[in-house]
Amino acid sequence: MGFLDRPRAPRGGQKPSMDHPYVPSFPSTPEDPQTDSSVSLLPHLEAKIRQTHSLAHLLTKYAEQLLQEYVQLQGDPFGLPSFSPPRLPVAGLSAPAPSHAGLPVHERLRLDAAALAALPPLLDAVCRRQAELNPRAPRLLRRLEDAARQARALGAAVEALLAALGAANRGPRAEPPAATASAASATGVFPAKVLGLRVCGLYREWLSRTEGDLGQLLPGGSA
């Protein structure tokens, strides 16, 4: 059982159970009632978690800006408060489930990493379509390209953290949906705009989710 599978000790210094091995970071004594085992991380690992959390926080801000720019360039009603398009399902990626918050943190991070891995091809597809619809919007196109790159980077960072914490997926990694010839050419412009909005929205949701889940690994983060 890895670190993340260990039940968290309540604050207040309950001693760790010998049935649940963990990675000690400090030379604490079993008799020390003040030891909080939930924050016994190696310093470099903790630094890595902080770094990844900061990255997720930054990218969440960028995702907000991307979404704002996207809706502005699709024209009304996309930018209107009353606009409520159908939340269309996207192949290979769904929104964070309501039950996500109740999962163990390692499972949440695995789902975050999987979503971050699925996002880049979707963002690339949106970028290609927007290059046709809004060719004179270089900033939007650049944000979409950057978003794909940043999702890959954050996903890789989260997976590295999971590996360091002994909670990485051991099975074969699922590949994102491959490009195939399709009846996509028959898809209209309006649905493509809605789809892009959905993808940008999912990007923001998963970044926000990842930031929250990483935050719980930090000292002081609630379980």
């Binding site: 009603p77 159908p86 269309l88 399902p89 028959a186 209209g188 309006f190 705009k193």
Partner: protein
């Protein structure tokens, strides 16, 4: 109807969009979801392209599970605004029609969003309208090269400019007598309608250059500009004004072409000429950047009084790098600028474009020592030729003398020396006669040399 070739109207003229793999599995708006209990719809036509002023008849057909979906209660919005009910009509139980007449140009380049809503306001289907005009023929192509290796061109969209549709401009070029069409790739380098060709251009052979404008409603092509790269070399500095001002063309050249120019002359110095109160000496250096291009240059000077906006231009400077301005007001600050026009690049006989003016250089003429009614302005006296017309006439006279009287030693320099001597002599006489200001009245001095 605007000029230019038109593509098919009322239907999208675009090529099908590129592959979007996720859309294969996506539940697209308009596609029925079996067993879901939800209604969806299809709008027809999808993404039409229309001319401004034309009409559109669209339909929203509802289908779904359970069958028997009704068009009752459906409504349309365009760009988020609900359309008046009188524009809609129920065609049958499941189809609502919309009639729009005299369409205005699209408000957004990505297409105007026409949406069919259910009674509760939920979105059933959407379609994007593209309403605009075909492109006009691009005009006013001008091109220049910074270093005889590259070429930058810019143009103006057709007469009306605004097509309300995204219009793509493509700069094409080819060698006049052989070679294939090439397309410029670096756009918007010096403005929205410009393109830069960085390399692989030939000299001493003409290129044909033109611009093609294309949008959903058609395409248009500019006139062909023919030029030799050698003839359009210019400085990297900004153009002084519109590229086709009349001062920049010469007879016999293609009216759309642009000849050579240079940087303005550097190191312009303006200084007094001894004590001469109506003259300033201007000196400069020929532009170094084109030193290797074996060109000659002619120059032009302009000057103005400090608090005036009127420039006076001295044209006949030829290829000298100095000039003396005369007929100036004493005790006055002047701003002076110089510009250059190259000719004879690589043996070409063609004149070029005047460069930009050099940075203004200021200098002041000496104050007049002679007392006058205002105490400052220098009024001309009898026998003292200081005005411009007199000086011009004198110049002509000296030129004639040199030609016909073999007086090679005569020059303005001699004349100016004589004038300086005259002024000093006049000062000395005034001192002797007690005309000078108080403090110096009555002081006796020897004659001036």
């Amino acid at each position: 109807m605007p000029a230019g070739r038109r593509g098919p109207a009322a239907q999208s003229a675009r090529r099908p969009p590129p592959l979007l793999p996720l859309l294969l599995l996506l539940c697209v708006l308009g596609a029925p979801r079996a067993g879901s209990g939800a209604h969806t719809a299809v709008i027809s036509p999808q993404d039409p392209t229309l001319l401004i002023g034309s009409s559109l008849l669209a339909t929203c057909s509802v289908h779904g599970d359970p069958p028997g979906a009704t068009a009752e209660g459906l409504y349309w919005t365009l760009n988020g605004r609900r359309l008046p009910p009188e524009l809609s009509r129920v065609l049958n139980a499941s189809t609502l029609a919309l009639a729009l007449a005299n369409l205005n140009g699209s408000r957004q380049r990505s297409g105007d969003n026409l949406v069919c809503h259910a009674r509760d306001g939920s979105i059933l289907a959407g379609s994007c309208l593209y309403v605009g005009l075909p492109p006009e023929k691009p005009v006013n192509i001008s091109c220049w090269s910074k270093n005889m290796k590259d070429l930058t061109c810019r143009w103006t969209p057709g007469a009306h400019g605004e097509t309300f549709l995204h219009t793509n401009y493509s700069l094409k070029y080819k060698l006049r007598w052989y070679g294939q069409d090439n397309t410029c790739e670096e756009y918007h380098t010096v403005g929205p309608h410009s393109c830069h060709i960085p390399k692989d251009l030939a000299l001493f052979t003409p290129y044909e250059i033109w611009v093609e404008a294309t949008n959903r409603l058609g395409s248009a092509r500019s006139d062909v500009l023919t030029l030799d790269i050698l003839d359009v070399v210019r400085s990297p500095q900004k153009q002084p004004g519109y590229p086709h001002s009349t001062e920049n063309t010469w007879p016999g050249h293609h009216p759309l072409g642009s000849p050579v120019t240079t940087d303005p002359p550097p190191d312009v110095h303006v200084s007094r000429v001894g004590g001469l109160e109506d003259q300033l000496s201007v000196r400069w250096v020929s532009p170094p950047a084109l030193k290797d291009f074996l060109f000659q240059a002619k120059y032009q000077i302009r000057y103005r009084v400090e608090d005036s906006v009127d420039w006076k231009v001295v044209d006949d400077v030829s290829n000298q790098t100095s000039c003396r301005l005369a007929g100036l007001k004493p005790g006055t600050v002047y701003f002076v600028q110089v510009r250059c026009n190259p000719f004879g690049i690589y043996g070409s006989k063609k004149a070029g474009i005047w460069s930009e003016w050099s940075h203004p250089t200021a200098a002041s003429t000496p104050r007049s020592e002679r007392p006058g009614p205002g105490g400052g302005a220098c009024e001309p006296r009898g026998g003292e030729p200081s005005s411009g017309p007199v000086r011009r006439e004198l110049k002509q006279f000296l030129g004639w003398l040199k030609k016909h009287a073999y007086c090679s030693n005569l020059s303005f320099r001699l004349y100016d020396q004589w004038r300086a001597w005259m002024q000093k002599s006049h000062k000395t006489r005034n001192q002797d006669e007690g005309i000078l200001p108080s403090g110096r009245r009555g002081t006796a001095r020897g004659p001036a040399r």
